[in-house]
Symmetry: C4
Subunit: 364 residues, 4 copies
């Protein structure tokens, strides 16, 4: 764990502003931008302000334990690094650096299909993990299957299938910022891997999308047939879809709206979480990403039923500011803040973070 | 369909700011201004932020179909161009240019009584339509009847009767901006056509308004007697008035508050829509205008019962920026955004945009 | 009625900003300031944004009648000029000018005990009225009685007794602005007339206030015994106090919080109005002041049960901008705006402004 | 009581801005900063805007009495000075100056374990009190006991045990501002007194906190065994903990979240108060601190069940502006404002401030 002071930011409050000065404008547009008018991106944050914490006092909190298990793997924290694309565009340390920082902290990290470094490079950088592999469903199933097999061979411990990107969202800030990946370089995971397609094409009165947009619930069973790894479905926002996922064999549901980068207007993840966790939290693990910034956000999501929460943009900020060291410092700051918050809330362990800790905020 | 890049704006986010730099101040005051303190104008927009989308995943969305029928006519999109006055003041392409752009996109356009180009010029510019004619009730019924007959002869396919303007609203921004039409030029539709009157005159303790303000529900039947075209009532905001309209023979109700330009304080159209659609949506077609900016707005209104939605100010912005080309580009951007949003929502066709797609947003 | 253009402001939107440039800073602090942190002053305005209008269409609105009766007197408008102190400090036309403008418009005006011009001067300036006299309860009842008798002799037609000022509110903006009346000049109504006292004095652990703060409900009966004029109680905010007032013989209740200048934190008048009007509106007349700026505000308050509404600060602004002419112009603009709004709402007369016109706005 | 004008600020509105110019930046960061993103700090203030006052008129309010008893002691005001650390860092007058000002006003003051001046110096500065001693539970109980005994000997009349600081909150503004106490100087209360610890230390997967974080409910009984003074528990936010406290022998509950400086996200104190006061207000005394700025805040909290309210940051502001004189002036301004507000609300004494005075504000 890095020491306070390393990585260049003294507190979590400084991180976003510092990062904005470290990357080129078009990269910043990519990091910060959301879909459409960015309603969902804003709502992801605001949803946390609708809940307040009800701490308990005079519990013995001389020792606070942040550890949890995620799909059977020991993790040092109930937060993990959400999968994000193209980390090498933000800092040369890229996915390998993030993997080293996460592994050093004992924190789970999920890595994207659209990585700068390959599956194998990531595994080599931090052999001890824990880590998950995020899969974009590929137009050809054999490509998806090949990615999953490589991840399994490289000792990734779960497959996170992204379901909210049959086509790329309309991202104005990114478009205007001119964000573009050097297409002469293949993504790290291989030359035949394709990102979601951007522009629907009008043909005969109908918009044709990429063939992987044709995926249906059978693909979950197909994936389960080519791997022993547990499957997590990412991008689910309704109880109905979560139930379908469990019926199809998923072991985890990651409540996500892609950080507000896909369907603008979609419900905030924190608003979508409680009914899904209530309906299915006893059968499978339910996670959330979107809007997690500080320890109180973690407490709220866990109290509302999340087994763990994914951290997105703050990891990009920390990576931009200090590479792997910056990410390690971020994880350290957030861990100590979470330990502090749990002590102040009178909760000694993750299992003590219960529904009684939170209450809907009174309306302004 | 125009290509991205044409018309001068890369994304929908840029349009309003770009347009503001292309027109004279008094024209901008006309475009942007509303009635009174502009409460209703603002509320029209804010109402859309009170709903969120609940997308479905793993539907096969490899083909998305935006087409619909409006009063029996095939239309390429479930949005249409709302009727707006004096388009020639904004760009020389005027109504004819808008007609060409709409026809090229297969999108329905409605044209105002108070047009710069005449009914016949509009029809000649884009013979294939589809298009509707908007009628301001005239002090003399024979003038109204004459306009309707000319529209019918020019193959307009419906008459949209504006009911929310028995007198012109108090529009401070427009007044201060000095917006004025050159009264030496007749409006396009003819020399005997009159706009709604502005200033009530006090006589004997009573304010006397223009004689067409005397219109009552009989006028709907009178109009039906002089045309075979279906009649749409524009400006209805209550279930009671919508029922009266249906009883009087209307085939469509356009829930509208004139873009917040008439009665300030009037309910936002999106708030007025659900009870009207619930009560009458199975008997007639219900539409909405006011506040539609992006694809998620379209989805919300359709999910709440609108058969289609009218686009207002964004068309004026696009016209200001790039004339007919700009309007075409706007329609193209909005269409691809809508196709994208439908795919991301798991809805392949307009008929699949159901009530389950939306949920009232949690209160902040 | 003055013509648009006279008095120096083209629309109601411009009035406040224009006025701010016409008066000295300490006068402006007096006009604009409220009590404490000015919560109630802001709330008075915001309360109107919580209601929306549901207009009716295709009513015959060729003639719109704004007239009403207030305590039996014919008035041209359902709004009146609320009583305000020291009008001569704002413009040399003072109370006499306001009286002339109001009388010219046929609008009721109420004049304050703390006037620059005397009761008799006001009556002489505009003999035809209609006008009411506002009474601050004086430490000695004989002074109150004398004021009432003078008002009655000068053909004022009602006495408005202010009940929300047993002591002056804490007004920081006014204090900092240094607003002070030249105490060598008596107020217009006479040398023995005293304003509410400002600073409570601590004596023996108890704050002693001015002796008129000792008033109780008997004072209403006492006043009734010295005048035949109907008594209106101003500053009532609860049903309980309104009932007491009716029991004591009041003929009208003016729901008011002194424009947010007395008890900061007090309920907005529009929120206080509905239960009082529902409970007592059939027995006596109920009025409201506080936050009325535009025609839609008038419609909302009348729809919620007010017989008429008082206008406060806008009259001061108009007076500052154009003296009596400015006030006349304001009344003219507001009257035509109200006639327009009634036409657009489908209401031909004040009696048609019913509860169905308004609906609680959806929450943001 | 100081006269208006002394101490350098004419109204309560000016105080915060004036103070910001009188202290060094790092001190200002200490005064103003809260924990994390300062949600709770902001919410403490906003919670007061969710209630409105319903004044009564025509009560005889010629004399208004602010006096109350707190745990049996006579106090001139129903507000008291909340305990705050390191007052000598803000102004050389320090705790002794605050004690003199409070005693002069007859207002209760609570003094922190982490004082610049010692328990005995404070008592000597203002022998008449009334005053309370705030205790941070010390790692060794003998140190806590010693502090309590010294306070009792110095005629403090109650012990306020802070329960919401088993570890120091994460305070970004303070960290960035570089606030630090000169550790070569012991805190005023003695060399063996320790502040709450800042950084949890990770050992073997568990965060170890200072041993006083091990405190449980037995500590309340242990304290009761070494003093005859009544014990007030500070930092309680739930009914459950308040009940435990009463069962353990506490005579008062101070509903507090440490001014938003400990657990960010914690419920606003005004939201936490009503259920605690309803459940236990008849058995013990319930107080509140957090967000009290003006007289209406005091009225709201008392109407919702607080026996008295603590003032925090405004005292620091007043101390920064004018030392003991500034604090005295603040207490004088707030007292006269409260007397004024009670008169305007129709409440002559603290006991008349009842639940009927307040109503939940309508939602915006």
């Amino acid at each position: 764990v890095s020491e306070p002071g390393e990585g260049g930011f003294p507190t979590l409050s400084d991180l976003e502003a510092l990062a904005s000065r470290r990357v080129l404008d078009h990269i910043w547009a990519y990091i910060e931008g959301g879909a459409g008018d960015e309603r969902t991106m804003r709502e992801n944050l605001r949803a946390f302000e609708r809940w307040v914490l009800l701490p308990r006092v005079l519990e013995d909190v001389s020792a606070v334990d942040l550890r949890t298990t995620l799909l059977g793997a020991q993790c040092a924290t109930p937060f993990f690094i959400a999968p994000m694309a193209y980390l090498g565009e933000i800092h040369p340390d890229g996915e390998s650096g993030v993997a080293r920082a996460a592994s050093g902290a004992g924190t789970l990290a999920a890595f994207s299909t659209l990585s700068t470094h390959s599956i194998e490079q990531i595994a080599a950088a931090a052999p001890d993990g824990p880590r998950w592999f995020q899969l974009y469903l590929q137009p050809e199933f054999r490509v998806s299957a090949s990615l999953v097999e490589r991840a399994e061979r490289s000792r990734f411990s779960a497959i996170v299938v992204t379901l909210d990107a049959p086509v790329l969202g309309v991202r104005d800030r990114q478009t205007k910022g001119g964000f573009a990946i050097d297409s002469s370089r293949p993504v790290g995971s291989g030359e035949d891997v394709l990102p979601p397609s951007r522009v629907p094409v009008l043909q005969g009165g109908t918009y044709r999308l990429r063939s992987d947009a044709a995926s249906n619930w059978n693909v979950v069973r197909d994936l389960a047939s080519v791997t022993r790894l547990p499957i997590v479905l990412k991008g689910v926002l309704t109880v109905e879809d979560a139930r379908r996922g469990v019926a199809a064999g998923a072991k985890g549901i990651l409540v996500s709206n892609h950080g507000g980068r896909q369907l603008d207007g979609a419900i905030a993840t924190l608003e979508a979480l409680p009914p899904i966790a209530a309906a299915l939290g006893s059968e499978i693990e339910v996670y959330l990403d979107g809007g997690i910034r500080r320890a109180d956000d973690v407490l709220i999501a866990l109290a509302l039923g999340a087994k763990a929460v994914g951290i997105g943009r703050p990891i990009l900020w920390a990576l931009a500011v200090g590479g792997a060291t910056g990410v390690g410092h971020y994880l350290s700051l957030l861990s100590t803040e979470l330990a502090t918050a749990m002590a102040l809330a009178g909760r000694r362990s993750v299992s003590e973070i219960d529904r009684a800790l939170v209450e809907r905020r009174s309306v302004h």
